[in-house]
Symmetry: C2
Subunit: 254 residues, 2 copies
């Protein structure tokens, strides 16, 4: 398999490194920013390009891992290519590729990526979709080299997964941020709350979230809720979020 | 140290087990529900009582670990006792005890407890407060046997911690619940999203939440946000939460 990676962001970087470590040959890394392309290409002995006309059009697999709204224009540039072209986006339909290209697919690793944080790909669910069985087999074969958690997920279900991930990851991280704001505003160190964050996430591996909900809202403890709302008087935005979420917890546990 | 534990809920249970494992002598467990008192007392070779008039009034330390609104009445029952009386509540002032009792304090383990899940106390921050230095030393001495993370936190700051914990734990768990709802409504398994939950919490140990925020809101990706809102048409409550939190993330990262 000769692979071309298009993109040099968080997902492109982690995926290229993992594929390289699994013994796959990545021949090119494309990025509009040549420095970014080179930074990644150097790590995996690939060629860095920033001009899409220089792309190797005879590779076996093209992985487009760019911002969602840039996938379309890259797909147009790849028109006529015989190899399999996939994107890595949770919220983008396979059609964006299959309407332009003969062999298309999706290779969506369901994880949050930061360039600077090492990741064990072996624990990442990889969600696959392809235009036909043969292309799907190619993707399955590669995905299984990276992770035992390989799922076949169509575009509609992948969108659902992505939405669920916004709650489980993006909104959760924002909860951490608001928690930190409250502590820092009162000269307390964010570190003190980290074991609680770890345990809250750890619990969910073995328990259903509805069975381990704790706190004033699930106890209908309005005295504490009102005291908390008073304490948030200087942070009206957090006050609104506190009210909305407490009401939602109460409703869910009626 | 002869210790009496008043309460048999999640915190009382974990704390009593940890103290027992650390070699402390727990002489009595009080609970209005005798079965609950006995279940815990049996595990730590203590006497179970459900009548507070039978309490051993000569112990060194009394740990009141009950619902916040029941602390007051228990404190009244303990009036006249010479030993140190503490509660374990994040949101309750030390005054609830010090107004009734000579030697009072707070022993607040900042963690989320479920009876059925084993916990390593060694990673739990323990927040202490006491009416005087001598009582504080007694608490420090015991706390250090359980955890290296011992903090001196007054009642005002402890209330702040508790509020921050509502965001970091209670609201976060509710995010997991909503994520599960979305998946289950679409015949997807909650398990598929668990590695994402783990990594999101893991990241925060080494990065500031504002620096690792990902998702459509922080990218100002209104196309995806609007698609997600449409997908939540059948779950108007989640739709409202999605809007509120996305706006808050946008504002925080302006």
């Amino acid at each position: 398999m000769r692979i071309v990676v298009l993109g040099s962001g968080n997902v492109a970087t982690h995926l290229a490194l993992a594929l390289n470590a699994a013994g796959e040959e990545i021949v090119q890394v494309f990025s509009l920013n040549l420095n970014h392309a080179e930074a990644l290409a150097k790590k995996i002995q690939a060629e860095a390009i920033n001009n899409i006309s220089k792309i190797n059009r005879l590779a076996d697999l093209y992985i487009i891992s760019v911002k969602d709204d840039a996938i379309n224009s890259i797909a147009s540039e790849l028109r006529g290519i015989e190899g399999l072209v996939v994107h890595t986006s949770g919220s983008t339909d396979i059609k964006i590729l299959s309407s332009e290209l003969k062999n298309a697919g999706v290779f969506y690793p369901l994880q949050t990526f930061s360039k600077s944080k090492a990741l064990d790909f072996g624990n990442i669910p990889i969600c696959l979709e392809a235009t036909d069985e043969k292309q799907l087999d190619i993707l399955k074969n590669i995905a299984q080299k990276l992770s035992p958690k390989v799922y076949l997920i169509d575009s509609q279900k992948r969108r659902v997964l992505h939405l669920a991930a916004v709650f489980a990851c993006n909104f959760t991280n924002h909860m951490y941020y608001m928690s930190k704001q409250i502590l820092v505003n009162n000269n307390l160190d964010f570190d003190i709350i980290k074991p609680l964050i770890t345990e809250t996430a750890d619990k969910i591996l073995n328990y259903s979230p509805e069975n381990v909900q704790t706190g004033p809202a699930v106890r209908n403890d309005d005295t504490t809720i009102n005291r908390h709302l008073n304490m948030l008087a200087d942070l009206p935005e957090l006050q609104e979020i506190y009210t909305t979420l407490s009401n939602s917890i109460k409703l869910s546990h009626k």
